[in-house]
Amino acid sequence: MSGFLAMGGYAPYIWTAYAVVAVWLTGLGLVSWRRMRQLEAAADALRAQRRAER
């Protein structure tokens, strides 16, 4: 296992690179997902309320 982590001595660079990708993509993914959920929930609630008024 430690050989695997050592990455042939380049561990810091390789793992940092993968960490950057992981953090940026999951960050963007989660933010977009949360924003979608919140806005769609608000919009649907509004539509239901307007339909109730009609």
């Binding site: 695997f4 990455m7 042939g8 001595g9 380049y10 660079y13 390789i14 940092t16 690179a17 993968y18 950057v20 990708v21 940026w24 993509l25 963007l28 993914g29 977009s32 997902w33 924003r35 979608m36 806005l39 769609e40 608000a42 919009a43 509004l46 539509r47 307007r50």
Partner: protein
């Protein structure tokens, strides 16, 4: 109100395929990471640092693909004035920025062990850097307007102008690079990709692609919902202005 030409149809479609693309994304990332980190052979010359290539090169591909999507969407927006095209273009930009930034950062992390400096003005990396600035200018233009129609129109034109200029920029940077090219700099990661490396690259590329589609759909749905909320606020203002 052509602004909502047929978002209902798009929303149904998006809700349908989004789980599938998300699942495919996770699957490809799983397989890709396994292939990239565990299964693939060590490149005889660059040893383990080649593993960074598996996340660097697909990011460069996707950075270009995303801009192509924006350019096509902008063309559709200008020619057929389809409101969904603007929504798609605006939603794609932040994803493009993500891929471009990842490409640059991983490229820098790859360069450090190979050349001892964080940043090398290599032709390909430089072009990606310029692409990053174009993306950011595009996003800044979107948020510079209050009126959404004007913003969409301006952004579409900029995206097309950018698309026309990208090959010219690529050529000028390459020319600039060869102008100052001391022969000693090793041409990195060129066509010497042997077949065993192609698999992880392809799978990671697919993973990025599915990520792009999934997040694009999410951001489009969010933007459409935001537009509906804005319209509701405007209706409230209108209703208050002329008391029933």
């Amino acid at each position: 109100m052509h602004r909502f030409a047929n978002p209902a149809r798009f929303l149904r479609l998006a809700r349908l395929i989004q789980p599938w693309t998300a699942a495919a994304m996770f699957a490809c990332f799983g397989v890709g990471l396994y292939l990239a980190l565990v299964a693939s052979p060590i490149d005889y010359l660059q040893r383990d640092t080649v593993r960074i290539m598996y996340i660097h090169v697909p990011a460069a591909w996707m950075a270009m693909q995303t801009y192509a999507v924006i350019a096509v969407a902008s063309l559709v927006s200008i020619v057929w004035r389809h409101p969904l095209a603007d929504v798609a273009a605006r939603a794609a930009a932040p994803i493009g920025v993500a891929f471009t930034a990842i490409c640059l950062i991983t490229g820098s992390l790859w360069g450090k062990p190979t050349w001892g400096t964080w940043w090398v003005w290599d032709a390909r990396l430089t072009s990606v850097l310029v692409l990053l600035f174009i993306y950011m200018g595009y996003m800044a233009l979107w948020s510079a307007f209050d009126d959404r129609q004007r913003a969409a129109r301006a952004a579409a034109v900029l995206a097309l102008v950018g698309a026309v200029n990208l090959p010219i920029i690529k050529f000028s940077v390459d020319w600039w690079n060869t102008l100052h090219q001391p022969a000693s700099i090793l041409r990195r990661g060129g066509p010497t990709i042997d077949p065993s490396m192609l698999k992880p690259l392809a799978v990671m590329g697919l993973a990025y692609l599915f990520f792009f589609i999934t997040v694009l759909l999410m951001r489009m749905r969010a933007d459409l919902a935001a537009q509906r909320l804005e319209a509701a606020a405007e209706r409230r203002v209108m209703a208050q202005e002329v008391p029933a």
